[in-house]
Symmetry: C2
């Protein structure tokens, strides 16, 4: 005789720790907790919620890790005043977990770079543009003496300068995270001085494009900048839509 076991809904109640994080999350949504405010002490929270201090600590540690609260030993635990840098770090873990993300990651980078460069083009002040150009010069000047890692950092700084020009912290966070994921590749690529020169030329192209505020010029500058890299093969699909769109509007 065969039994067809009933498929119960997963009525497994969320763990105590999850309940605590949700409690604090809901208090934030309702406005009962405001940035900077001090939370009850861990033993007090444990008493109020009727759970052990370990559970409270694990919940607070999670909130702390993603930047929602800040704990100061001897003082207490407070709701974070400003969004922390850690808030988007999980994305880097996502990359590490994926197996064949390389081409998908390139697509993401192109998409994000185009987005923040266009935003920067519309928002950058004259001073911002000077910073960007300064960053480009710095890389060019360092070509003679710096090692490949330092060069890669300067390359990164160039993109950071553009990101700063967006004046949008959310965009900056996402952009920085995505760019950082390429640091190692860039660094490896810069063993060959010729590649550094190509990157420098690409940077000046991007600067010109930013000045022009022309969407297509920005777009091609970025696509081209990735064409002399170890990932040029993956840029194809993106380039395709670029040409396609260009053709339709002219």
């Amino acid at each position: 005789m065969e039994y067809k076991p009933v498929q119960f809904q997963s009525l497994q109640q969320p763990s105590v720790v999850d309940q605590i994080t949700n409690t604090i999350r809901n208090a934030l949504i309702k406005g009962e907790l405001k940035p900077g405010q001090k939370l009850p002490s861990e033993p007090e929270l444990a008493r109020q919620l009727g759970v052990g201090r370990s559970a409270v600590r694990e919940a607070l540690k999670v909130l702390q890790a993603i930047g929602v609260v800040k704990s100061r030993r001897g003082s207490g635990t407070y709701i974070a005043e400003e969004p922390s840098d850690r808030l988007l770090n999980p994305l880097s873990f996502a990359i590490l977990l994926g197996t064949n993300v390389s081409s998908e990651l390139i697509e993401l980078r192109v998409m994000i770079e185009i987005g923040y460069c266009e935003l920067a083009a519309s928002q950058a002040t004259a001073e911002d543009m000077l910073h960007i150009e300064h960053a480009a010069h710095a890389l060019e000047a360092a070509l003679k003496y710096a090692n490949h890692e330092e060069l890669a950092q300067l390359d990164l700084n160039f993109h950071y300068a553009i990101l700063d020009s967006t004046h949008n912290p959310l965009v900056q966070k996402i952009g920085r995270t995505v760019e950082e994921l390429f640091f190692k590749s860039i660094s490896d690529n810069f063993h060959e001085p010729e590649h550094v020169k190509q990157a420098i030329a690409a940077h000046y192209n991007i600067i010109d494009a930013l000045h022009s505020k022309d969407l297509y010029q920005i777009r091609s500058a970025i696509v081209d900048s990735l064409n002399n890299t170890p990932w040029k093969d993956q840029v194809k699909t993106l380039r395709q839509i670029h040409l396609n769109g260009n053709g339709n509007t002219h």
Copy 2:
């Protein structure tokens, strides 16, 4: 007498918990840990690292919260097989914490939407386009009987259908997270049936734009779709660069 206090390096060593998370993170980077792999048990990890089990638990709880590992009671802790839905949730906390992020959030949404719609336009199969159109029809059909929350969910589904057409899990995850942040606003906005109709019209505009594969058409369809919303004021800056770019190329 005045002292110029020495500027000490912040030599506060990271907490034991942070060291543990970093250890696991580095093991992931080096490839010593692969998705699906089982971690040593908590007591074993504590022994190997020379720390208490509580510290190990707090570290694992953090990694679990952001979706890097999955713990199964009675079985063990494993590196996550696939990126979890939680991976970008911290962004939603950022919204709760920040006060004046609204206009920045709109910018981010426009940037991301334009990006994934262009990608979708270049990658979508005929079947994908049918799914997108089906999602648009579903919202239109539900207009007569569904409540505002259900309508908002259908609106969301439309964007999910476009995201699916990118065939890029990374882009999908970021896109879904950004869209979800607007669920409540959309839901509130849909109290007024007229707003739903405007959203439906905007959706069909986007579908046309996707078919055309024309960058400017996609861009204006998205900008326009946000123009009949509670956030129309914030769309101005983005619209500006749109027109600007358009003017330069013609």
